[in-house]
Assembly symmetry: C2
Homo-oligomer: 117 residues x 2
DNA sequence: CAGTATCCAAAAGGATACTG
DNA sequence: CAGTATCCTTTTGGATACTG
């Protein structure tokens, strides 16, 4: 786990280590809305307002921050289409699609294992 | 996944709904240390100090709060063994073991997909 | 439409010292 | 050993009003 093959672009991280950057990534994905945004984008690109409606209860400020952070970490793209009014599409990157899979499992597990009522 | 067998005690939740209790559960699992604690307990019960060492950088106050919350939600048990000095074991419940699976996938994905360096 | 700006409250995180 | 208690900082969340 501390060895790095010369031909590999990746090393294995340890989320239990204090300074491991993987922990930052885990933190980003652990935000209140991050997993929900990524899940919403699994079906295809969405616009800001569309996401806002899908994520019941999110305020524009918080949604913006969530989107920016996901963009900074390379999970989603933000595409501005110059028209009037302006149109902005958010979509998953390959990395985002990769993260979407385990997150979907987690969401599904939570949905089926949470007692309602 | 949206069907519920008549003999099942569970209904399907929707984490996208504002008032869905599943969202609380997702939030608990999304805490900075929750997924790490659950992962640490997958190998077997651990004591407070053992967890503290495994989760590099966690303070006793924060660890306590994390453990209490996981206990409240039924993911872990806290067992006090009356001896001197007192011994306290934390262990996963069945629910906790269930949650551990998708969380392990997520951790593993993060560890292998986070660029280090 | 897709955000910003502002203000605020609450939660989370953390360092450190102390205790049954 | 397994926490509490205290104090503090940072982060997060949120309501609302406004703008190019």
């Amino acid at each position: 786990m501390t060895t790095t093959p010369a031909d590999s672009p990746r090393r294995t991280a340890d989320v239990y280590a204090t300074l491991c950057p993987a922990r930052d990534v885990l933190d980003v994905l652990s935000g209140k809305w991050s997993a929900l945004v990524i899940g919403a984008l699994e079906e295809g690109p969405r616009r800001f307002t569309s996401l806002q409606h899908r994520l019941q209860g999110v305020s524009p400020k918080v949604l913006t921050r969530t989107l920016r952070r996901l963009e900074d970490y390379g999970f989603i793209t933000r595409t501005v289409i110059a028209q009037v009014p302006v149109r902005v599409d958010y979509a998953l990157t390959d990395l985002g699609r990769g993260a979407a899979a385990p997150l979907a499992h987690l969401r599904h597990w939570v949905e089926t294992n949470t007692r309602i009522g």
